[in-house]
Symmetry: C2
């Protein structure tokens, strides 16, 4: 089982890096986790230009195989139990490989979104995209625990 996080921008804050590393370590029992970061566009870029530039970089790094899931405010919402079931389903459909894509603050280019197999939302609230990466890692860990019938503290 391989899980890849394909993200726009770096995780700059140390505490987020530590938190994400913690979940990555916990997840290593269930899957091989990798993180690919592509450059986010400078603030002074026109948003449409920034999105196109970021999409170009994302496309270059997007794997040809596996199931592709974009994190998107307008994507499908799940309970943790439903998310666990999806995880199992995506794993099968992707031949053991899932790529989660997390866009930057400018969002996605429509053409890039069309390459995705699924679009999911963690919340109707907007979260910082670096925090999204951490929340997703926790939720994947929770999903594996649920699928393995293991106890997990909320």
């Amino acid at each position: 089982m391989q899980i890849q996080f394909l993200c726009v921008g770096k995780m700059r804050e140390k505490w987020l890096q530590v938190g994400f590393a913690e979940y990555k370590k916990r997840l290593s029992r269930f899957a091989t986790i990798s993180v690919l970061e592509v450059a986010d566009s400078p603030d002074h870029f026109n948003p449409a230009v920034a999105v196109a530039k970021e999409a170009e970089l994302l496309r270059k790094r997007l794997p040809k195989s596996g199931f592709k899931v974009a994190l998107d405010l307008h994507g499908k919402a799940f309970s943790s139990l439903e998310f666990a079931k999806q995880l199992s389903d995506w794993q099968i459909k992707g031949g053991g490989k899932i790529t989660f894509v997390i866009a930057g603050s400018n969002g996605y280019e429509q053409d890039f979104l069309d390459l995705m197999d699924e679009r999911i939302s963690l919340s109707p609230l907007t979260f910082p995209h670096q925090l999204t990466r951490l929340i997703l890692a926790e939720q994947i860990f929770r999903g594996f625990k649920i699928l393995n019938n293991e106890r997990y503290h909320k």
Copy 2:
């Protein structure tokens, strides 16, 4: 403007403490933030006993005045923009004081929930309650930025 976090259990992980402290610092421009933690019950407690014990401790620390909001998986969901508007509304209704209550892994006692003015949900997904505290702090900060028409990075 006073905002209180009333929580069951301690924030044990260092990276979460650092992240929460960061948002607390950022929020200090908009409000006085305080955190009150009551003891969570030991794991070996029967869940019903644990919930009753935690509710008793929460009731003792619950302020008499101000607007009271419980974080609850079955509460109302909002977009960040709607949440900002609610924040403004709760501030007025609470005479400048809002208390957010975050239960432990056992959830809430119904009698305690009945003391609340509102029940809100951050996501249909279940998050660890320590991470919930951090996500809420970020969202309150985002809310104030929205209310002040300030730019905010996603």
